[in-house]
């Protein structure tokens, strides 16, 4: 009799570094990361569950999925893995993190094809440090007792658990596929990589300086490559780099030779002049 293979998407994290619920982030097509992970895993397993903490059961991003609530006195992903093994002790569990924005079909299909039920686990070798990637891996039923003992001993690192176990390590077909997005910086990078049409465009702006700004900038003009969308954003950027003492409130701005509004959108090759308080006559 073959061992059933079930899926568990981990969504119980507290997303402290991201400052928002990672499961609910929508990178593509208006689909949450959690839903995208569940759908990606579904073809490869008999059934997909979502790992949650007790207080997350009715939370809108999670409530529509079959859930396995943490019931192990441990924290972190290992609590979810052990809870799943307790619910279905004779199943193999494919564990998948929900915060892998670059996860692709090839990575999942390759793991499904190469999984070896005669080993303790099948996992990818990290393209960063060569260690097992514990959060896109299949844990065979025989790891259940060892994992429970590991937690009972106060250990909680699933990566080290796989390192000590008889784990089949695979080379990932796409080295970036398992890069997780943990911080707000990761989020913006993933967002612009996955949605090139949303990437903030760079503009080349010619800036001329006069009077006190010329002296403080140490130049009469320069060409700035910037992501600033308006003269106000551009001035704030330049004020930082040139240590201008004047605030934007005391200035006027000219674009292409005429006075302009501070919130007018900048276009590439615009010529911008920031006008300090005047003193003619």
């Amino acid at each position: 009799m073959t061992t059933p293979l079930l899926g568990l998407v981990l969504a119980g994290g507290r997303s402290t570094c991201m400052q928002r619920d990672k499961a609910a982030i929508e990178y593509r097509d208006g689909q949450t990361q959690l839903a995208a992970a569940v759908e990606a895993l579904r073809p490869h397993v008999t059934k997909v569950f979502v790992s949650v903490r007790e207080d997350q059961r009715t939370e809108p991003t999670r409530r529509h999925f079959d859930q396995i609530v943490d019931q192990v006195a441990a924290s972190g992903p290992i609590a979810g893995i052990a809870s799943a093994q307790a619910v279905a002790p004779n199943a193999a569990w494919w564990i998948l993190a929900c915060d892998l924005p670059f996860l692709d079909h090839a990575t999942l299909a390759n793991l499904a094809a190469r999984r070896d039920p005669d080993r303790d686990a099948t996992a990818y070798r990290s393209s960063h440090d060569g260690l097992p990637e514990p959060l896109c891996a299949v844990y065979e039923p025989r790891t259940r007792d060892a994992l429970a003992a590991y937690i009972a001993a106060g250990r909680h690192c699933p990566r080290k658990f796989l390192l000590r176990a008889n784990t089949l390590l695979l080379d990932p077909p796409n080295p970036r596929a398992l890069d997780n997005a943990n911080t707000t910086d990761d989020y913006w990078q993933a967002m612009s990589t996955l949605n090139p049409q949303l990437a903030v465009s760079q503009r080349e702006i010619r800036v001329q300086y006069f009077a006190i700004l010329r002296e403080q900038a140490g130049r009469r003009e320069e060409v700035i490559t910037t992501q600033a969308r308006t003269p106000r954003e551009l001035y704030d950027e330049l004020r930082g780099s040139h240590s201008f003492t004047l605030t934007a409130d005391s200035l006027r701005v000219a674009i292409n030779g005429d006075f302009a509004d501070w919130s007018r959108p900048l276009s590439t090759n615009d010529a911008v002049v920031f006008i300090p308080p005047v003193a003619g006559g």
Partner: protein, 151 residues
């Protein structure tokens, strides 16, 4: 010559006066802004004017056109210096000729007031103690601080 212009050389007042002579006009008013030897308690020894000339020229023409329309005068001109100036030099000159004195006075006053407020021209003062500073720019931070402490 355009109605508003810059000069890097001393302003030739005689030729400007002559250019505004008009047999239909009974009044001529001119204003001269001079470099004075003190400002806000400091002894001034020299001045520098700097301008964003392209925009200042366009705005200067607009100011004079407004004065002509508003006060019904035809002949109005303004010249502003740029570069280094010594004491007693003429920094800015405005001249208006008109059929009657009232519109000439009012147009002249309008032009110098608007030029001082609107044109991107900056003045750097050099002081007897060796300091220098851009007028209206250097003390902005100090003023902001004063407001804060009053509030």
């Amino acid at each position: 010559m355009t109605a508003f212009s810059f000069s890097a050389e001393p302003i030739n007042i005689a030729s400007l006066n002559a250019s505004l002579r008009d047999v239909t006009c009974g009044g001529f008013v001119s204003f001269e802004g001079w470099v004075r030897d003190h400002n806000e308690g400091q002894r001034v020894t020299a001045l520098e004017y700097e301008a964003f000339e392209a925009l200042a020229l366009a705005e200067g023409q607009r100011v004079i056109a407004e004065a002509q329309q508003r006060f019904g005068v035809e002949n109005a001109r303004c010249v502003h210096r740029v570069g280094a100036l010594g004491l007693e030099e003429v920094a800015v000159w405005v001249g208006v000729s008109a059929p009657h004195r009232d519109e000439a006075f009012r147009a002249c006053r309008y032009i110098i007031d608007e030029v001082k407020h609107r044109l991107p021209i900056w003045k750097k003062e050099h002081y007897a103690n060796g300091d220098s500073g851009w007028v209206n720019c250097e003390r902005c931070a100090v003023h902001a601080h004063d407001h804060a402490s009053v509030a």
